[in-house]
Symmetry: C2
Subunit: 489 residues, 2 copies
Amino acid sequence: MTAYQELMAFQRDTEALGQIAGRLGWDQETVMPRGAASQRGEEMAAIEAVLHARRCDPKIAEWLDTAEASDEAAAAQLRLIRRSYERAVRVPGDLSRRIAQVTSEAQGKWAAARADQDVAAFLPVLQEVVALKREEGQALAQGGNVYDAMLDDYEPGITGAEIAAIFDAMRPRLVDLRAAVLDRPGPTALQGDFDETLQMQLTTELAQAFGYDLSHGRVDKAVHPFSSGSGNDVRITTRTSLSDPFNCFYSTIHEVGHGAYEQNIDKAYLLTPVGRGASMGVHESQSRIYENQLGRGRAFTGWLFGRMTDTFGRFGIDTADQFYAAVNAVKNGYIRTEADELQYNLHIMLRFDLERALMSGDLQVADLEAAWNDRFAADFGYAVDKPSNGCLQDVHWSVGLFGYFPTYSLGNVYAGCLFEALKADLPDLDAQLGAGDTAPATGWLKDKLQQHGSLRTPRETIALASGMEPGPEPLLNYLEAKFRGIYDL
Amino acid sequence: MTAYQELMAFQRDTEALGQIAGRLGWDQETVMPRGAASQRGEEMAAIEAVLHARRCDPKIAEWLDTAEASDEAAAAQLRLIRRSYERAVRVPGDLSRRIAQVTSEAQGKWAAARADQDVAAFLPVLQEVVALKREEGQALAQGGNVYDAMLDDYEPGITGAEIAAIFDAMRPRLVDLRAAVLDRPGPTALQGDFDETLQMQLTTELAQAFGYDLSHGRVDKAVHPFSSGSGNDVRITTRTSLSDPFNCFYSTIHEVGHGAYEQNIDKAYLLTPVGRGASMGVHESQSRIYENQLGRGRAFTGWLFGRMTDTFGRFGIDTADQFYAAVNAVKNGYIRTEADELQYNLHIMLRFDLERALMSGDLQVADLEAAWNDRFAADFGYAVDKPSNGCLQDVHWSVGLFGYFPTYSLGNVYAGCLFEALKADLPDLDAQLGAGDTAPATGWLKDKLQQHGSLRTPRETIALASGMEPGPEPLLNYLEAKFRGIYDL
């Protein structure tokens, strides 16, 4: 065997073990008996230790020294393995263990502080997390920018300055659009209860309508919807709420975007680094375009209105236009995860600016709450009423996720670019979606983007699929046109 | 840390990884998407390779050289780790890989041959399996008896000769009892259909009635019922049949015997070698005593008759005595897994004698079908009608399980000993079971046996719990009394 073949055989087992760890995560959130939590923690730690040892195995460096790539795919595999190896060996084992300990503790303290509305109780441990993550960032950055090194874990190749430039172009237009929309009367609300068993039946139909393959996946309930797995075993979860069926249906369509992406990657890349989504941002571009540009568009919601009426009978909405407005209702609210398509990015930009300032030292942990509340009032026009609606609402920072938040909005930006290109290529898109037929659109995404997995960098992936350099203009134009239309501006 | 502590820390991670592999097996049989099978094969191979490398890690030998046991439990841990290590290093890696390949192939050929009623299509690959397993047995036996070395994987410490002595004492009495019973008219059969959702509800109630802890386990459906996991995550499965609710209920009670055993082991032994059941035979003693001596007894079936009538209405049985006879119906049949308590052991003895002869070379693979059919006719009084009802009915030999079959009947023998002691200690047992209260009986088993896990050898475990040297007399006396009573002999 050549060095390349030996490396890839080793890597394939690592990927298979990584899939197992992912499946354990699925199990934990869906079917695990509640009394099994602490034992599961030991089991997860054991397999994570195996994975870590493999990721920084010195044999990888030897193989990388002599391995030769015979084609573009092989070159991409080597690039991704080198990136993973360098990341693994740059962070000292002691520091990793300390981060694991402190974030585990911090997550518990965050949950308690959020329940008690007690920011002060959380700040000391957050300070520790920030210090440890900065130390990790310095080890990764090797003299470069610490926050950029963190971003590299989630969106390889992009810098904080590039993201700031994109977000700075978006913020004023979104703040203005939001204010104009919220000056107008809101849409008619759904009435009555929606049987949760019927919701799960219709949501499974929706998943399949969006091309999710149930012979290589499954749909279950979880408290927080997620997708997991790659290749031939890609599972999604959703949730139901008796009064709010959109929560179920759009959680499902969102997760199908993630899941179908993984299912649609060329099976030649199965259990290899290329055989996974290109980045968090590119992944999110798929979940967002499925959920928003396709799923919440006028055409598809017209079809969904009919299916919901068939399934649940009448629910207080008389026309497909009213239904479309209800699906896209814009309301005041504090919580990122409950935000609509228009306001969501404002929540992200706030977090991006704050976490970048925390990492650079421009913002002190002690000043975090005031900075959050000032920024929220500036963008949303009203004050945060309590910490659980403010800086304590998200788990991310407590578990050490810095550099992760911006990928949500990068996903939206990428989705904007892809949708512009998709519409140009598919002149009959609205007629197709209006008949519940997503196959041309999802087929376009598979063909242009999904099948290639991580063959190219995130930027190249989007640029090649959309035919344009990724930027915020298409998303902003789309949002302005959509919400001006719905709200008659 | 001392050598003992280092060894146990290493072993604990191995045990945790073993639990993960078990959980993947559960996933595969219950919730895995059907298209995920081949990828799952790679994932399982990857974690099995990690486990194998850990089990024969040379560090274990170094630790074992200097580790000192401070108490009985520590001595048992060292004994079990040494046993596992010696087994792992005695079998060459090449041979293990070859066995994995050939048995994987053989399982497919067995399934096809069974479907086609074509013994000849299966024999060449069975010949390969037998040859490879014999080679493995020789490596394990180090000059000793090959079949005894195989038994040691499932029932440490017992020999083929000891089992033969037990079985030889059982066979004539069971053959006679069977013939006498089948001369009598059979019991009244259940009539009508039994809603499968209600079966699952009642079966979950039964699981809890037998002490199964749902906060550390769960009950799902699977094609072949099984239990899996240790400690705080022990899952069982059952199945439903519209016309045969006993299949569901007694599969559940059987698996609860396995599952409750694992759940009830002292948590001080969690994720250690002592923290698992003592052997396949001891495990089966628990599933069998739950299912048969307790679950199919006159007292408990009286309570179950009431619960079934409450749940399903009338089903053609008028009295608790009729119901008891129906639960314990003895019928002609070819299939081991469908056999009643009386005839089951005859199926096992047949397989034990044949597989022992295959391993010693006294029986050639080419002569297997004839030997099977002769023995079946001798013990059951009628001829095998087709291979799927004869020597092709079980998967075991195709996957290389030699030495496993006898543990099913050893479990029955052990259950006989335990039940005799339990009855003597619990004078009110029938009144308790008649009220659906199994707690005194299952509590006795937990206290006397289950909590100790693998602290002692299988023989010592049974001897200490039952107060007698394990032997077949109690089982035979129990079976004769029970079936003579039901069949009015």
